[in-house]
């Protein structure tokens, strides 16, 4: 763990080599490459949704209710006669946003608080970390449920709930990194030269935490997507008619035996996306691991 600094010095000296080595290690891992492909696929579908989707995902047409896959609707229609495929395609946007926004927010909060706690120590540290302990003590879904109960169901509130739940884990990791980096010569030198703490954090500490943060982020994104699905199941998730995958699976569950396409296809979409991010994150960790630990 305390070799981060040397790693960073190395990175500054021979950045291309470092990235090249990580890429080489990463590329060896076929699962990780599969993950990258899945994530790319999600990105493409999300960005180009309006051009790819064959129908309007929100158009209610009761006469086309519960049509089986095939013909005009490749993956069938739901109980309002809406096209399941188009809803899955638009759902990619929502899932991406649900994965990214809370992760970015909680990473920002977690990094800031973690660095502050680790760098200043003492009471600040105690206060922030006890707060993190409190948040971590709640089973995350229960805490998110309570927040949604308080705020009401909507996409924005899901972001808030998942950010509140997510920052604490990030803060812990960043704090631990900061503690060890603080003792490194280049940080002490900067401090001796009178560089302000915030500048030190920004210039020297944050960049060195980056690999760890990146790994945690890639694994937090699928977590957020799954949490949204769970909250939707509990009736406190995204508000219908939002085409969120979680909501589609959860609402379609009722027809599993009579109109399976309502929950099975969005379920596959979640499965592939979550697997994709997990493969990607695990591959990244694997590839970075030897460098993080290198003498």
């Amino acid at each position: 763990m305390n070799h981060m600094a040397e790693l960073s010095e190395e990175l500054e000296l021979q950045g291309t080599t470092f990235l090249g080595d990580v890429w080489t290690a990463f590329r060896r891992n076929r699962l990780a490459m599969a993950g990258v492909l899945l994530v790319l696929l999600l990105l493409i579908v999300a960005v180009f949704a309006p051009w790819i989707a064959p129908h309007d995902p929100y158009k209610v047409n009761l006469t086309d209710q519960f049509l089986a896959p095939g013909g005009k609707y490749w993956l069938g229609t739901d109980m309002y006669g809406r096209d399941v495929l188009s809803r899955i395609i638009y759902g990619a946007r929502i899932s991406l946003v649900i994965g990214l926004v809370p992760t970015l927010v909680s990473t920002a909060i977690g990094t800031l608080l973690g660095m502050t706690a680790g760098y200043f120590g003492g009471r600040t540290d105690g206060l922030i970390m006890r707060l993190a302990d409190i948040v971590l003590a709640f089973p995350s879904l229960l805490l998110a449920m309570v927040v949604m109960y308080t705020l009401g169901a909507s996409l924005i509130n899901i972001f808030i709930a998942l950010s509140i739940v997510g920052w604490a884990g990030m803060a812990r990791v960043v704090r631990a990194q900061t503690l060890s980096l603080k003792e490194r010569e280049f940080v002490e030198a900067a401090r001796a030269a009178g560089v302000k703490p915030w500048v030190i954090m920004r210039r020297h500490i944050a960049p060195n935490c980056l690999p760890q943060i990146l790994i945690l982020m890639t694994l937090a994104i699928p977590g957020a997507i799954m949490s949204e699905a769970s909250l939707s199941f509990l009736g406190v998730g995204a508000a219908p008619p939002t085409a969120s995958w979680g909501l589609m699976v959860s609402n379609g569950r009722e027809y599993l035996l009579t109109a399976y396409w309502n929950s099975v296809y969005p379920g596959f979409a979640i499965l592939l996306t979550v697997l994709g991010f997990n493969f990607f994150g695990d591959g990244l960790r694997d590839a970075l691991d030897p460098f993080l630990k290198r003498q």
């Binding site: 209610v60 209710q65 109980m79 169901a153 008619p241 609402n251 009722e254």
Partner: protein
């Protein structure tokens, strides 16, 4: 130390594997023993929490089966009912309609062996009104003389409740109230044993003592309840030995359990989309039992909010909703379009109302005539109600076609109920109402009495409606009363277009072949008395 850890792990796996095998043989013999007793197994989606009918306004499984009331409602035909003797063999009403005298059936035994007396009845009703009880069903008794003082804590007893002798109870009302008797047949006003209830205290709801056909044998919270037949029941012992009510929250799971034969009744209200499956399946179609629900599905229109303050807009909505299509696509034609507030089967129901035919052209014209440029309405609903959302989304599309833009606003139920109460936040909402007791007052007064009309976000202002409703409460001649309610109904639905009737739905159940004599209760509720059921 660590080696031991992995060894322990492996050992545990073996133990589990062995135990799984062991259990499988044990449970088989268990099932054989259980089938000897005549058992009805049902599923309920939430644990009722309390058997005390005074303390709940919706969980009536236990109040209906563990207790009896002074009078009962008997289902005489599909959606038809009449008031019949319960614990009271007969009753008299004074000429001024204020004094009710009940003669109790002699020698009725409670589950604890005590014999029912007039004191128990007085105690039970007074307990409901006692502010210390914090009862929720006071609405059915608050017309008794002295009830207000008792509820406000200004009196230690309720003046209008008198035990004349061991078997005679006299109840005096503050003013005549014709539906009083029907209200006494509601599940919340079962008769309690004074001694057992006082001894039970806070725990009475969990250790209930009633006179009912069943008594509570076992209650594993959130898992299952076991009710066993009470051998000394005053009308004769039930024909089944026990009822097992399993708490299974998920309708999907209930359905799988039903098909696997582990529960005997599946309530299709929780899974309407499964109606075609069971109705069209050769194995099940003869097992589907259906009965009308004495209730109405509707939209409430708030006249205090734009653009619904405009009569033409409200009328346009009446004609712009395709009730038949909604019934076909979401309820598989298990119901009929509604023409008014009152439901078929309810006393005073008016079959002669014309109803509304779907007429989008007429609706479009009405919207144009209203003079409102691009009318927009927010339909409010609670977030976790999928059934409401189905209707709202479809109606959103239908009203869009006649030129009214609809936004569906979903809020949590706390916000919803608080907003509706103010009367000036919710423009339009979909809901349903089913009869607590068989009287039009239970529908029309509840919705359109001046306070209620605000609290339910109708804001109906028609003085003629208020006048009819008020008068109807005082009149004792039934035909005259019903006429007054029907007048009010016509005004709110046809003249003022305040209330958009949608449909009256059937309540469907699928029942295992071994269960006989399963009848949907008179008002179509999920909770019912299982006294008449047989199991083969």
């Amino acid at each position: 130390m660590k080696a031991r850890l992995s060894a322990a792990l492996i050992a545990t796996i073996f133990t589990v594997a062995l135990a799984l095998n062991g259990c499988s043989s044990k449970s088989n013999t268990g099932n054989d023993a259980a089938s000897a007793a005549k058992t009805l197994t049902i599923a309920i989606s939430t644990d009722p929490g309390t058997a005390d009918g005074q303390m709940t306004t919706e969980e009536y499984l236990l109040p209906l089966n563990l207790f009896d009331r002074l009078v009962e409602v008997e289902t005489t035909g599909p959606g038809q009912s009449k008031i019949v003797p319960g614990l009271a063999d007969k009753w008299d009403v004074s000429a001024d309609g204020k004094v009710y005298t009940f003669s109790l059936h002699p020698g009725v035994k409670f589950h604890n062996g005590e014999v029912l007396t007039a004191d128990d009845v007085v105690y039970t009703f007074d307990r409901m009104l006692n502010p210390k009880t914090k009862a929720l069903n006071t609405d059915f008794l608050d017309m008794i003389d002295g009830a207000k003082e008792r509820m406000d804590g200004k009196a230690d007893a309720t003046k209008g409740l008198q035990a004349i002798d061991k078997n005679t109870v006299q109840i005096t009302l503050a003013a005549p109230f014709a539906p009083f008797l029907a209200g006494l047949a509601t599940p919340g006003v079962g008769i309690y044993n004074k001694k057992a209830t006082e001894a039970g205290g806070d725990k009475f709801g969990q250790e209930p003592v009633g006179t009912g056909p069943f008594r509570l044998k076992k209650w594993e919270y959130n898992a299952e309840l076991v009710l066993e037949a009470f051998p000394d029941y005053f009308r004769g012992k039930a024909r089944i030995d026990q009822i097992i009510a399993k708490v299974i929250p998920s309708a999907d799971t209930q359905r799988l359990e039903f098909e696997a034969g582990t529960i005997d009744v599946f309530d299709l209200d929780g899974a309407r989309t499964q109606i075609p499956y069971f109705r069209d399946n050769a194995k099940w179609q003869s097992q589907v039992v259906s009965g009308p629900r004495v209730g109405t599905y509707y939209y409430a229109l708030n006249q205090a909010m734009k653009p619904l303050d405009n009569l033409k807009i409200r009328q346009a909505i009446q004609y712009g909703i395709n009730r038949e299509l909604l019934l076909e696509k979401f309820y598989y034609k298990t119901g009929v379009p509604a023409k008014g507030v009152l439901a078929p089967g309810l006393a005073g129901y008016n079959a002669a109302l014309p109803g509304f035919t779907y007429d989008p052209e007429k609706a479009k014209t009405l919207v144009k005539e209203s003079g409102v440029a691009s009318p927009t309405i927010d339909i409010w609903q609670v977030t976790d109600s999928a059934d409401t959302l189905k209707i709202n989304e479809a109606v959103q599309a239908m009203l869009g076609e006649i030129g009214i833009k609809v936004n569906i606003k979903q809020v949590d139920s706390a916000t919803w109920s608080a907003s509706r109460k103010t009367g000036n936040q919710i423009a339009m909402y979909h809901s349903s109402w089913s009869a607590d007791f068989n009287d039009p007052d239970n529908f029309l007064y509840t919705f359109f009495a001046p306070n209620n009309s605000v609290a339910r976000s109708f804001n109906e202002k028609n003085a003629k409606v208020f006048e009819s409703l008020d008068k109807a409460r005082q009149v004792t001649n039934m035909a005259e009363r019903y006429k007054l309610y029907q007048d009010a109904e016509k005004l709110v639905v046809y003249d003022d277009a305040a209330f958009v009737p949608l449909f009256h739905l059937e309540h469907l159940f699928v029942v295992a072949a071994k269960v006989k004599n399963f009848k949907v209760s008179w008002n179509g509720w999920s909770n019912m008395s299982y006294y008449g059921i047989k199991v083969e």
